[in-house]
């Protein structure tokens, strides 16, 4: 069903939110290096979002919530996002994807704040992240199940996203520090979440004109995600190979 009025209200709410966020970002000092090759989301935006999350981390630490609980909550929310994608509830799916990304940031911050950061926690977090991504992409695959080309794009985006993390894990296992990478997890969450939001409202706004809901924005976001994730995986592989070549034999 077409709901252009609700879509217009949603655009208004998101527009106000983005305007307020930009004001907050402008007031946040830059923290960290600003060279080339870094993530698409720059140090200022990352510092701003971490700053926003601090009161929540403090509150959760005060309540005695364990970081593992947030990790598992992120996994559940990602699976729900996948379910929402599969059911065609794109606006909800986009919001759940952003929420999952926020929980992913919160669990690490909470672990450090509570002084319980550990190799075991890092392992659980990494494994849960891979399952979470898998769950979301399965939902996207179900949504585009009648479109062979888009199904291929979803598969490529899913594979490349897993490869970005795999190359980093393998390289760090071989003693190479890996900080390069344009499309890291926050970038991928943001691209997918906003892509789904914008796609949903665009579909509802154009629906009375077209007679159907177009999902061209989500398809475009997925194509961009597949390309940048593939690029990032290749970039990391090249960086790791160069570092290992320069370093001689493996440890």
């Amino acid at each position: 069903m077409c709901r252009p009025g609700t879509a217009a209200v949603a655009i208004g709410v998101i527009g106000v939110t983005i305007a307020l966020a930009l004001r907050g970002i402008a007031q946040t000092p830059i923290a960290g290096p600003t060279g080339t090759g870094g993530p698409l989301i720059g140090p200022r935006v990352r510092a701003w979002y971490r700053g926003l999350m601090e009161p929540f981390e403090e509150m959760l630490a005060g309540l005695g919530v364990s970081p593992d609980a947030l990790t598992y909550a992120q996994l559940v929310v990602s699976m729900l996002a996948g379910g929402a994608f599969a059911a065609g509830c794109l606006f909800l799916a986009g919001w759940l994807t952003i929420l999952a990304g926020t929980l992913d940031i919160l669990d690490g911050g909470l672990a450090r704040r509570a002084g319980v950061a550990s190799p075991r926690g890092a392992l659980v977090d990494s494994v849960a992240d891979r399952w979470a991504e898998f769950g979301t992409f399965v939902g996207l695959g179900a949504f585009f199940r009648h479109d062979g080309t888009m199904l291929f794009v979803v598969a490529l985006a899913a594979f490349a996203s897993q490869m970005v993390s795999y190359v980093r894990a393998r390289a760090e296992g071989l003693g190479v520090e890996m900080t390069v990478g344009r499309a890291q997890r926050p970038e991928r969450y943001l691209l997918l979440g906003f892509g789904a939001w914008v796609s949903s409202v665009t579909g509802h706004l154009l629906c009375p004109l077209l007679g159907y809901q177009t999902h061209v924005v989500l398809a475009s976001a997925l194509i961009v995600l597949a390309v940048v994730a593939t690029w990032t995986a290749l970039e990391r592989g090249r960086h790791a190979a160069a570092a290992l070549r320069a370093g001689g034999t493996l440890p």
């Binding site: 307020l20 007031q27 009161p55 606006f91 909800l92 409202v201």
Partner: protein, 55 residues
């Protein structure tokens, strides 16, 4: 805490309103979200500004 809670309710409500048949629940969430967000924006510190050092 009311601003993020209001935003959460608004997003859930708008999502349900756009893409589901649960219209009553959606309307309820939108109204609650709008009220809570409005109260949060009307008082207190600037929205989306971290509590730490600012420029």
């Amino acid at each position: 805490m009311s601003r993020p809670l209001g935003f959460l309710l608004l997003m859930l409500g708008l999502g349900l309103r756009l893409d589901s048949t649960w219209q009553l629940l959606a309307s309820l969430l939108i109204v609650c979200g709008a009220v809570v967000s409005g109260l949060g924006l009307a008082r207190g510190r600037a929205a989306f500004v971290p509590p730490g050092d600012t420029r």
